[in-house]
Point group: C2
Chain length 139, copies 2
DNA sequence: TTGGATGCAAAAGTTTTGCACGGTT
DNA sequence: AACCGTGCAAAACTTTTGCATCCAA
């Protein structure tokens, strides 16, 4: 099974909770926060403690299985699966809708930057915000 | 005086605390969090409550005097002056050093995106991270 | 004078931690 | 068996809020 291999390959123990978390992340197509993960697992009769969610995600972020995602209008940390071909989101400040942006405008840029600066650049977080067509009037 | 005009132009009252906050933001050349602003003001014998710092920055962000800045490795919100010609930061996950990146790789991109998506895009937050030359060994 | 700004204290929201116990390898 | 993962409870940290008072316009 694939999910188990993801964990094994990174040297993390295979547990029901971690598999559950990864399944949730695989199902949803937007970044989720710890509480939403806990709730979704609870809905499927998997009890899990918030600390466990935090720790599991932190561990998985460490080894690159998941990415932390920030939105400048929200103080929480969100997580998403680190799929190949990463992407970013457009988000509406009013209705909070998220739209995936196809392709990343920064891939080449980041590589150039790494060469120029001698940094080992491991990733980036981009958050583009504004008002969606429906919300432009009622700002 | 310039700082006062910035507030006046945006319809915000001119107060000692707000001027103090703006002076701090003008002095430092990196994004700061509320606590650092409070401490810096205290160092200059200006007493200010944390709530006031939060509220002032929120108000000033609202009208575009300052920008909120997020770093994916930190849960706090940082603020910087909204100077013309905005920029982004490269930050080291190990030593936390920040380096300003000249120019923004997203200006044109954001404009295109706005046209394509019919969104009214008001801004973006970009955070590029990795390891600086000095920290690459001791990851 | 009037409405917005501030201080204070309390609460809410988010994340981290220590320790005992349980489950994977 | 050894070590890592998990639950629980508590604490730490960050941000927000209500209300009384103060201050700029």
């Amino acid at each position: 099974m694939e999910i188990k291999d993801v964990l094994k390959n990174k040297g993390l123990k295979i547990t029901k909770k971690r598999i559950g978390i990864l399944k949730v992340l695989d199902m949803v197509e937007y970044p989720v926060d710890v509480l939403e993960i806990k709730d979704k697992l609870n809905d499927n009769d998997i009890e899990i403690n918030l600390s466990t969610v935090y720790r599991a995600l932190e561990d998985m972020a460490e080894v690159g299985i998941v990415n932390r995602v920030n939105f400048s209008s929200d103080t929480r940390v969100f997580y998403e699966l680190n799929r190949n071909g990463h992407h970013h989101y457009l988000h509406c400040l009013k209705c909070k809708a998220l739209v995936i942006i196809d392709g990343c405008p920064l891939d080449d840029y980041q590589e150039d930057l790494a060469k120029k600066t001698k940094y080992d650049l491991t990733g980036h977080n981009l958050d583009i915000y504004g008002y969606c067509p429906k919300c432009q009037d009622k700002k």
